[in-house]
């Protein structure tokens, strides 16, 4: 795949040329942005909020399954580094913990492959540290720099992007979820395995979120995104508190949306949409079940690791009390092998988790966003239809007025009709636009999905290969000991 560079200056209002991806976004971006901001009659400006913040499956995910033992979780040594081929701009984000605890020195690089990304949490400070390296051809003002961001900033970014792009048909990657329980633990400064796990989990999730966002050719150019990645000061995102009035408003709107969705009866003329929608519904169901199973697997593997360790100890004791020397030694060896296998199980559990479970969780949320986009299309259609019906009524009214003698009323009616005709046309255009956008987005999404899954599956298989190789090593070392018993 050819890497091509978007030419873009922030002063312009539209992109000049675009990367070789099949999404042509000529008519989208800032222009559309302003259109919707100004439009007073845009009914959806408020209502399109981040869907995943209060999504139902989060409750399932939050109510953590049993963590039977606090096993040492070491962050994966090879962090997933998604690739962006269309960018050559390195950006690194550096985060620091608030209360002077450990400082994470991780570098998110939204750039060419080699760099790795990290993120921040809500309680982490931003520190100003700018590293400029002179790379030309960059979208960003500097070659490499770091900013600090809070978790709420990420949510704020998402919220802005969602309000701008979701209802035009763009699949905006959902932000990682809030977790009140997890956050409180970390805030309180509790230093245990589960809070470390939580931190790592969140770090990884934010990284993936950012990567997905910047991979999107349209979103990348959004000024909010750029500001997020670059500017040292960011206005505090206030409306992202979980239990704020804004949050409640969001919940109410969401409920209203759900009701509306049920009442919209759309005549789907396009079979593609119908088929895709069905497909995504099914996918949603299956992915959720799959996710639940993977989480169960992670849990069981941890359990297995604990039990293997216990068995190893027991075998060692047995070896001690065995009075036949060679057998005793062999049993001790067996105990050692089992101990090593226990470690393997742990590592495997980590792989399961970080590779699969998180990916699936991301996709469940992504699918929700996709479904949201389809819903917006329906709403757009509805709006168009409403305008049309209103126009119809007005025309009928006008026709009636023809027979009365009220010239100014008639004129008013004619004006209204004119306006409405414009609206209807606009509505139709909007509908066609969103349909077009969605088609492109879906095809892009599907490509990304293949890439994502493929890379994860390969990593997972590689981790399995490693496990098997280790197992072979251990048992091969053990076999002669067993044979030596006489």
């Amino acid at each position: 795949r050819e890497a091509s560079v978007p030419q873009f200056g922030r002063e312009q209002s539209g992109p000049a040329s675009l990367p070789a991806e099949d999404v042509s976004t000529n008519s989208n971006g800032p222009k559309q942005d302003s259109l919707f901001d100004d439009d007073p009659e845009d009914l959806f400006a408020e209502a399109t909020e981040e869907v995943s913040l209060d999504s139902p499956e989060r409750d399932v995910l939050l109510s953590d399954g049993p963590s039977p033992a606090i096993t040492p979780i070491t962050p994966p040594t090879s962090v997933i580094t998604p690739r962006i081929e269309s960018l050559t701009v390195p950006v690194s984000l550096q985060i620091e913990e608030e209360e002077g605890g450990d400082s994470f020195d991780i570098h998110i690089a939204v750039s060419d492959p080699e760099k790795v990304g990290e993120f921040s949490g809500t309680f982490w400070h931003l520190r100003d540290k700018q590293d400029s390296s002179g790379t030309s051809l960059s979208v960003f003002k500097q070659g490499e720099f770091s900013v600090k961001r809070r978790f709420s900033d990420f949510l704020g970014l998402h919220s802005k992007l969602a309000s701008k792009y979701l209802h035009v048909g763009y699949i905006v990657p959902p932000a990682p979820e809030k977790s009140i329980v997890g956050m409180t633990k970390v805030k309180v400064g509790k230093e245990d395995q589960s809070s470390n796990e939580f931190v790592e989990k969140r770090r990884s999730a934010l990284e993936r979120y950012l990567m997905r966002t910047v991979k999107h050719p349209v979103l990348l150019k959004d000024p909010d995104v750029l500001q997020f990645l670059e500017s040292s000061e960011l206005p505090r995102a206030v409306s992202t508190q979980a239990l704020s009035s804004a949050g409640l408003l969001r919940m109410v709107n969401k409920a209203a949306d759900a009701v509306n969705k049920m009442t919209i009866k759309m005549n789907e003329s396009d079979a593609w949409f119908e088929e895709k929608q069905q497909q995504f519904e099914n996918l949603d169901i299956q992915l959720r079940k799959l996710h639940a199973s993977v989480e169960s697997l992670v849990c069981h593997r941890k359990e297995l690791s604990v039990n293997t360790a216990l068995f190893a100890k027991s075998a060692a004791m047995l070896g001690n009390s065995e009075d036949h020397t060679a057998l005793s030694r062999a049993l001790s060896q067996l105990a050692e092998v089992e101990e090593k296998i226990d470690q393997l199980h742990q590592d495997q559990a980590n792989a399961d988790f970080y590779l699969f479970s998180e990916l699936l969780g991301d996709y469940v949320r992504l699918i929700t966003a996709v479904k949201g986009v389809f819903d917006h299309r329906m709403k757009t259609w509805q709006k168009w239809q409403d305008s049309q019906m209103l126009l119809q009524k007005k025309r009928e009214a006008e026709a009636k007025l023809q027979f009365t003698n009220k010239p100014d009323k008639l004129q008013q009616a004619k004006d209204e009709i004119k306006e409405l005709e414009g609206k209807v046309q606009q509505g139709e255009r909007d509908f066609e636009q969103i349909s077009k956008t969605i088609r492109k987005e879906v095809s892009r999404f599907e490509k990304e999905r293949v890439k994502d899954f493929k890379s994860v599956i390969i990593k997972y298989l590689e981790s399995l290969v490693q496990t098997q190789q280790q197992l072979i090593k251990y048992w091969e070392a053990f076999l002669p000991e067993a044979k030596a018993i006489s």
Binding site: V294, L318, D323, A326, L327, V450, F453, L461, I472
Partner: protein, 419 residues
């Protein structure tokens, strides 16, 4: 659903290293599992004169095995031998329950899920069944291999009498009596164990066996837990693989579909406790990369070790019982000595005391003599069994891991080469 299951088996000695002796060969050639009982076909080949034929078979149930075992235990003449432990009762309750639940839940799952789960449960049932047959067979083989026990009359009747032995299981009263007997025995056992033995060999054996028995018990329990966890993880992998399959169907005709099918294939193959391969996964995968992988049912490396530990738990208990009997005899002997001294001092009932003392002495010496040999044999058997088992365990693990590795590497090369 599982009305009955019939399995034809070849003779094998699972956890014991036994010499096959042409004069008396016993095995279980067939077994039938019915609703609530299992019928074993005990097949004997013998050159001994006391049997009417040289080769014959009878059908026996579990209770008859127990009867035989108990008759050994209660026989005073066998006090000096390690009585081979009785085989455990065939227990299909858990498996049957699962099958029943499956039947009830049939409506709530798809046909494929149902068939798959049914196959797994049936495989599980089969595995348990094979194990119980093996346990019963091992018991008989041990008896047949023992120089004294093989001559036992009850044993011969067991092997030859082709009618029902009319041995009923113990009723409640008898079970209660057994319970009390055990309580008394363990209390007594503690008392007897406290008596220091003059003989170093036995003193050492006593200490050793006590500790060993406890540790085997612990190891056996831990290995069971480990297996359960492993099975849970395997069930999850199974479910995950099914979902991946479903998801791949949703992406029909896209590359993701192929990817996911590979993953399913790999996952299915890696399920530790049971290995089955969905034939349908083979269809869109280039066949020259795959070898024919046979469906293995219950390739349980874990279970081998667990079975070994369980068996030696019972054997070490039997050895402890032997030591207890000897200890008891020793105490009786010492008491008889004391009684004799008292009688001599009072010069009353001396003859009686003398005979009693002589009996005790004789009994004790007889037991001691055979016990020593028995315990030495026990050790030899134990070492040999562990060796065999550990070697097999390691070899099986290696085979499994190497197979998996090969499969994974072929998958990876296909996936990576796929642009």
């Amino acid at each position: 659903m599982m009305g009955y299951l019939s399995v034809s088996l070849q003779p094998r000695a699972v956890n014991v290293d036994l010499q096959t002796d042409a004069t008396l060969q016993v095995d279980i050639s067939d077994a039938l599992s019915e609703r609530d009982k299992v019928k074993f076909t005990v097949h004997t080949k013998s050159t001994l004169p006391n049997f009417k034929q040289s080769e014959f078979s009878v059908v026996r149930q579990h209770e008859e095995f127990i009867w035989l075992h108990d008759s050994f235990v209660e026989n005073e003449d066998y006090a000096g031998y390690i009585i081979p432990p009785a085989p455990p009762r065939p227990d299909f309750d858990a498996s049957r329950e699962k099958l029943q639940k499956l039947g009830e839940g049939e409506g709530s799952m798809t046909k494929e899920e149902f068939t798959k789960m049914k196959q797994e449960l049936e495989a599980e049932y089969l595995a348990i069944f094979k194990k119980t047959v093996a346990m019963h067979e091992v018991f008989l083989c041990r008896v047949a291999a023992h120089p004294v026990l093989r001559k036992d009359l009850n044993f011969h009747v067991f092997l030859e009498y082709n009618q029902d032995l009319s041995v009923r299981g113990k009723n409640k009263k008898e079970k209660l009596e057994d319970f009390f007997k055990n309580v008394v025995k363990s209390a007594d056992g503690v008392l007897v164990a406290g008596v220091k033995d003059v003989d170093d060999f036995f003193e050492h054996e006593k200490t050793f066996l006590l500790e060993y028995h406890n540790r085997v018990k612990d190891a056996s329990a831990k290995s069971d837990r480990m297996i359960r966890s492993h099975k849970n993880a395997a069930d999850d992998i199974n479910r995950i693989a099914s979902f991946f399959l479903k998801v791949s169907e949703l992406f029909e005709k896209t590359r993701v579909s192929t990817l996911l099918r590979w993953l399913c294939f790999v996952l299915f193959h890696l399920i530790p406790a049971q290995v089955k391969v969905e034939q349908l996964l083979m269809t869109d995968v280039s066949s020259h990369l795959l070898q024919k992988i046979e469906a293995r049912v219950a390739a349980d490396e874990d279970l081998k070790l667990a079975d070994l530990l369980k068996y030696y738990l019972r054997e070490s208990q039997a050895a402890k019982d032997l030591l207890y009997r000897r200890g008891r005899a020793l105490v009786d002997y010492e008491n008889a000595n004391k009684a004799l001294d008292k009688a001599r001092a009072k010069n009353r009932d001396v003859l009686q005391a003398e005979t009693s003392q002589q009996l005790c002495c004789h009994k004790f010496e007889k037991i001691s003599e055979s016990a020593k040999q028995e315990l030495i044999d026990f050790k030899t058997r134990r070492v040999a069994a562990f060796r065999k088992n550990l070697v097999e365990l390691a070899e099986l693990e290696l085979k499994h891991a190497k197979g998996n590795l090969q499969l994974l590497q072929s998958c990876l090369s296909v996936l990576k080469g796929d642009t």
